[in-house]
Symmetry: C2
Subunit: 235 residues, 2 copies
DNA sequence: TGTACATCAGTGAACGCGCGTTCACTGATGTAC
DNA sequence: TGTACATCAGTGAACGCGCGTTCACTGATGTAC
């Protein structure tokens, strides 16, 4: 029967998710390198070999966590950016950047898994590429929209674009920065790296004994970064 | 005899360094989490327990590697920045930033050890603080020098400084940014995080299939960042 | 210079642990006639 | 609706591995008189 068949499949899907959730919790205490199939099985009251019915190996479990991580942070940023009027570009920018950091602070090990140092011995498969670009898509969209509306006013401190950047810019236009001229694409990408640099610096401990009011400082920095790409102050 | 006593001590120092070097090589293939005292001992032809004469635990070995890493990258950046005339601030800036990236590309796992996601279960002791600021000291010095010479001309896109930043700026002045006004300190710190963000993005794989000419793009970005803090173009 | 003693480096065995993965198996759940 | 068969989930034992750390020990290197 079709209903019962989906019933079995539903149980399977649920257990698969439960395993991933448990693994995610372990990630939060042990880090990616310490993630262990046996420990996950133990906590779920299964025997370790049973997990292999759901994930053929430890690396596949890691891959699932990475994809989930990209999707979770992508969804958080998308949702945050949707909270403002479409033409409030600085507002969308600040909201998206804040959501990025908030999510990272709430899920430090998941953040480290996807944006931190690579897990030794693990090679990310191609399936992770799509979800990886969700955050970039949100930030890129804001810039593209502003550009299309003629609301992008970058200050005139541009350095010479590197020679071979043309094809890169074209690829960025096709994926996350529709309609952006080369120099806007170059600047957007750098800004993107800067935002992640800020979050990583804070999360990985480089702001220890350096920055006190981290909320305020982050807002200050991402607002400044927004201005460098030409997203003027909203208020 | 004093000579023979130093002879024994010299052997000890040499073996200590040899252990650290071997460990560093292992770091480069296994990553920090996979660093194993036994593997290091094996490669050196010692029995594993012998290593304990030199490092009381695995964590102490890690600490030594972290300190060495900070010092190595600090020395590389210092040396590079010394290659230009003192008043060539953009030149010193570019040289220092390039050296930072070059070192990171040549020693990716050491870079990850000090600037990447924290090693799970490892708590960095206080001794790592000093060496950690050598790179910041070089970059900060360039900015302070330019400021003192009246050669710092930041563009007027400053956002409002966060309220609690005063004491942070004071601490930065005392350590790595002598004489820098609050807003310069805030901007310098953000720039610093941006530079590391760029290097980390490249090293941790986020520029895969995105940036082709990475040398050129890096130069472009750090030059732009230099202009944002007011280090005008040198030529 | 020579001897008695203390310090140190390195050995080898052991403790107790956790890991990923395989495999033959028992039942339970679903499918086809 | 009922029965025979196939699929699947979960079990428990095992393989072979590597790890950090401790400990009693043997020699060699240094020190003091």
């Amino acid at each position: 029967m079709n209903a019962s068949r989906t019933a079995r499949e539903r149980v399977r899907a649920e257990l698969t998710r439960e395993i991933a959730d448990t693994a995610r919790r372990h990630l939060a205490t042990e880090g990616a390198a310490g993630l262990s199939l046996r420990a996950v099985a133990r906590e779920m009251g299964m025997v370790s070999s049973a997990v292999y019915r759901y994930f053929p190996s430890r690396d596949d479990l890691l891959t699932a966590l990475i994809i989930d991580g990209y999707n979770a942070i992508g969804a958080a940023v998308e949702e945050a950016a949707a909270c403002c009027r479409g033409d409030d570009y600085p507002g969308r920018w600040l909201a998206a950047c804040r959501a990025l950091r908030t999510w990272a602070l709430a899920h430090p090990h998941e953040y480290a898994l996807v944006y931190g140092s690579p897990v030794p011995g693990y090679r990310a498969p191609a399936q992770t590429i799509g979800p990886a670009s969700r955050v970039a898509a949100v930030l890129g969209r804001i810039i593209s929209d502003a550009q299309a509306a003629g609301a992008l006013n970058p200050p005139g401190l541009r350095a010479a674009l590197p020679g071979g950047f043309g094809p890169d810019a074209e690829r960025l236009r096709e994926s996350v920065l529709p309609g952006a001229p080369d120099d806007v694409a170059a600047r957007a990408l750098a800004t993107w790296a800067s935002v992640f640099g800020m979050v990583s610096f804070e999360l990985f401990g480089q702001f220890e004994n350096v920055v006190t009011d981290r909320d305020g400082y982050y807002d200050y920095v991402v607002t400044s970064l927004g201005r460098v790409i030409g997203l003027g102050a909203g208020g």
